[in-house]
Subunit: 188 residues, 2 copies
DNA sequence: CCATGTGGCTAAGTTAGTTAGCCAAATGGC
DNA sequence: GCCATTTGGCTAACTAACTTAGCCACATGG
């Protein structure tokens, strides 16, 4: 039989595609195998079962999102940086609506790969907020505020929480403005 | 055989309990039947299968949350009302971490029950924001801002998005303060 | 006191993930 | 070039979960 020439990363990539198309629960080994032109058990030669496959997609997603945010923040600071990463953040989520929720879980203790890539994601935010000179508790609160606001909007948008999809761009812009205002007056 | 004396609402309530305990995907007919002292197929006499069961839990959850928020806002307005519903919102989510995500999806078009209960939920927010005299686009943006901020924080907290669970109360209070500030200067 | 509807049950089917074990295609040393 | 080994497919079979069919006993009400 002619070989399909699969490799672990090809399987993970296709799984990510399927997840974006049909949601996390829409991923099944059946469609995955079908899309890759292979029978179901063959997938086990490349991937260690469904949970491991999902974990692989999650790791790649966090990595990709972190890179996207870092790249958006390059050469910018403060309000400009916030605007840039906010835009990149929403953009990435809209392009990867299925993967997005997977990026929002803290790593399990002891999972070093996940810890590393999750730290990279947080690091981007920390470094942007560093520009506002926030320290200690203020820095923690502000980080949580920023993450919560961005995540809340994007989660509702991609998860179908907003019934009317009108003017979402404007509403998001308005949200970002409020965030920036809050950060500039945080220590008061 | 002695009857267990089940009823649809008992099954739904127990399902909600299980969901809060083990997450949405932790609900199985096996544990449900076991908890209720009954064999699996007997559940079908009260509930129309797994998807319908989840929908039942979702409807009850939205209803419960809406009532909780409405009750928190009674007799209060503006900043005080925001503070009260923000507190009630987080409280409810922490008490029902499994059900909470189920309350965040817009109703499917044509699902009248869901539409009704979802509207009730939004109505509470609208009426509180009405106190700020926001109209038209401002009202829409502010509603989305409020929902996004509260949801983002609570979703990250209950979904394990915040790695360090220290001082979350303070961070949330700080978030609410920022929301209130933003709402008071919204039209500027 | 029996006629009827209801709420349990067992048995069996379906779908999805998984494991075992086989076999052909690639690959690499000689 | 040839054979040994590894690799990547495969079929078959198992398990867990939801679901359906169909049976039977208990409760209820004329």
């Amino acid at each position: 039989m002619a070989r399909a020439g699969l490799a672990a990363d090809v399987v993970v990539r296709e799984a990510a595609r399927v997840i974006d198309e049909r949601g996390v629960n829409g991923l099944s080994l059946a469609v995955l195998a079908d899309n890759l032109g292979v029978r179901i058990p063959s997938l086990y030669k490349h991937v260690d079962g469904m949970p491991a496959l999902r974990r692989g997609v999650m790791l790649a997603a966090k990595k990709d999102l972190a890179e996207e945010l870092a790249s958006a923040a390059v050469g910018r600071s403060r309000d400009e940086a916030i605007g840039a990463i906010a835009h990149a953040y929403r953009q990435w989520a809209l392009e990867h609506p299925g993967q997005y929720p997977m990026t929002m879980h803290a790593p399990a203790p002891g999972d070093d790969d996940d810890t590393a890539v999750s730290s990279a994601l947080l690091e981007v935010i920390f470094r942007v907020l560093a520009g506002y000179g926030l320290e200690g508790d203020d820095a923690i609160d502000a980080t949580r505020f920023l993450r919560a606001s961005l995540h809340g909007f994007v989660a509702l948008e991609t998860g179908g929480g907003f019934a009317m999809p009108v003017d979402l761009d404007r509403s998001y812009q308005r949200l970002v403005t409020s965030i920036v205002t809050a950060l500039n007056t945080w220590a008061e």
